[in-house]
Symmetry: D2
Subunit: 260 residues, 4 copies
């Protein structure tokens, strides 16, 4: 596995287990600041938050756009956390790149090859999510679009695939962890929030992904999930995340890792 | 169903059944001209051909780009056929729009919402393919991104979904035809080439989609499939397509349609 | 394809297209008699009806058992139709075999190998449904359990598979028709009722399966679907079935077949 | 969760984590004895081994039948381990019940309702595997067929479902653990061997299932996997299993359990 430097204080390596957390979408200054401070106190070093949201229908909340990015930067200034946020197109790529420490490519853009090639020209880590309809082999193909464009700081994310089972939103494919480790040199992190769909399944899926040997977790956390503008049923409260965080710290040594 | 005008001679309506055919990718002047002339002689009025190809891996043939578009235009000048070709990003959208009569959004970009919004600003019919990992409901959501941006000339395409069955490349979901007719006002056409994966299953899948009540077919046809630079196993030869075309003409009246 | 003799008046062959219809479950004498007479008048020669019903939960209606079989026999005596009904276990196999003309193995028993071996010892046609979780290759394996036990009168049924799409109950895999024809010598019929899940999608799926080259259709028809004890939303009324039947008669010649 | 007594020395409860291991199929006295002794030395208390094997094709090795059961009993006499073996039909049910401590219903018989009802009449724990095409809700329905027949000692097994991903044999659905715990009172164990398909993915999947909160693991272990008559690529060697076993002992306390 290659090492991936995120900022001057933070680097992913063979032994590290990276915790990323934050709200599905940036909604307001108060929301971002509250969650960022609480997470930082716990020891979390990377804040997630969507400013541009890919929504199935055009009538759903589409995110705050550049205003959202600015709020994330405020949170970084206040807490020192690195920030990761999604880019949906090449138009906004330089904007997103300017504001963020890690650029996220969402599940629906996993095979947006034009975007992947452009992202590959920047000198920033890229968090590439597996498409929910994509095979592991296709995810690897997509990672090559980025690395062959010159950027080999790719972080792969397993976030669940579409199956016939409807009791959960997606089916987390934990086998992606050993498979991607075997076939690529990129770290692999688990997003347990989207497959769970419901907050009470997030912890067991996070535990599963960690024990399978993942290199980190990206989890949706909201100060008040009930009032969230998107994904309200699957976001953890801060105490719920804290409970999970403590368990992850206990499991990490068993897979020879330490939480960062 | 709304009527969709394609060019001054061609319009889709409740009674029409539109045949679209042509190679997976534009490869050379000879190839495009040969297939276009033969198809036009048969009665086909819309030529397909990819100039920008979305490929799983960056090392695969990526298409001829603008040169490919120019060859398609030559074929239009020679035969009078309308042309449809895929756009993969907003960068090339005005270029593709300039050269083509119908703009195609491929399966992997079905939820590339930024691209959908931009395409919706142009005054050209859009052929929107269902993502192989997308539900019918998501395809409808994607069509709204186009129509709410101002362009309601959307042609929906069922092209097979990912399932556990590996005997074919994808599983054609014929129920998409009645479902989309029920829930939208857009025409629905079937792509039997991609689910078949192998040329000998293309005809039965085309027949099935037609009998289910589709409004047209888009089929990959190549003068010499064995030497094709992409999708070589699933492209029909010109005689194979002719055989299929004759059967479609016989089945159309049973679903109250005539072939255009 | 091998010919399959069903009774002294009825034989499936390369050119025949077999229509099988009747209620999901045998519920009462009046119900069976009414539907049987109406179907026979239309020209249908095989009556389906369940006496032993495989239900997901033990609290659901489990069928009338032997009483149901006797009602089917009464309908045969009255109309001359052949009857097909499901056997769920080896205990009831000799009973079901005694009463029926065709023995049905349901989707959930597609890989009940002990049952398949036993059915293979009888001298009656077997209608073997594809498991909704089984590949085409597994269905072929199951058919060999029957034929290698001595009975090669197997009729294969495609009835939809489980996929991520929830707009229909199952996804009809029409490619099963050419694939099974290529790899086996058994006829292949389509069950459009179970994948549709809702009666208004039954006709388009039936048309699709027929045009793909199937050798027959098995369809749920009930004199009063709203009051059916099982599958009430997907059963056709008699007039709806008649409408479909007339269209199938028009499509059959295009695939070189005549309706029996 | 209900407690499930297996034999006079062994009981599953809220805090226990049950390790079951042994070969896919019983092949010979030497094979069974060797693996049983080594597993017992390690601390494993339940031996698995198939005597009746459900195989996709009739030409594959079908198991040793009653001879296999007798070899399992010999291993029990020698080691004191409890034995679990699969029953495929009601014909052999009393035979299998007589020889075994836990009766296994395999994935392909998850909805063989006649078999489930009969098994429910016996006074022995039943290990019920989820069908690879069945939802969690259907698995719960199947468990009710057993419990409503009088036997509520049911152990549920998640063993992977069919999805579009072909890099592994099945996709392990770890969310089944919290879902089944929420909706039933039965213990839930994980079979990582079948979804892995290849031995090197068994350990990460076993770790994942354990961390998700499962109540045990059932794993295929063979003294010499390369020469196994079935599932040769996915069976662990004894040293590989020992490596896994030690890691499970470290992870169990984190989910508040101890290994039995």
């Amino acid at each position: 596995m290659i090492n991936i430097k995120i900022n001057k204080n933070l680097e992913m390596n063979e032994k590290s287990f990276l915790m990323i957390a934050g709200p599905c979408a940036v909604e307001s200054k108060e929301q971002v600041m509250e969650v960022a401070k609480k997470l930082k106190e716990m020891g979390v070093n990377v804040l997630r938050g969507g400013a541009f949201k890919p929504r199935t229908c055009p009538d759903s909340f589409q995110g705050l756009g550049e205003e959202g990015l600015k709020l994330l930067v405020k949170a970084r200034e206040e807490t020192g956390m690195a920030i990761v946020t999604e880019v949906m197109d090449t138009e906004n790529l330089s904007l997103v790149e300017e504001y963020s420490d890690i650029i996220q490519i969402g599940s629906r853009n996993c095979q947006n090859f034009s975007l992947l090639k452009e992202v590959g020209k920047y000198d920033k880590p890229v968090l590439l999510k597996r498409g929910f309809g994509n095979t592991i082999s296709e995810l690897i193909g997509s990672s090559k679009y980025i690395s062959q464009s010159g950027n080999n700081r790719v972080i792969l994310v397993e976030r669940g695939i579409r199956t016939f089972e409807t009791a959960t939103r997606f089916t987390l494919d934990v086998s992606a962890v050993p498979l991607l480790h075997e076939k690529t040199e990129f770290p692999v992190i688990i997003d347990p929030s989207h497959p769970a769909g419901v907050s009470r399944y997030v912890e067991p899926l996070a535990m599963a992904g960690t024990a399978a040997g993942a290199d980190g977790l990206i989890i949706e956390v909201h100060p008040n999930p009930k009032e969230a503008l998107s994904d309200s049923s699957q976001q953890l409260t801060i105490p719920e995340y804290n409970h999970l965080y403590e368990k992850i710290k206990r499991i990490a040594p068993i897979i020879d890792k330490y939480v960062i």
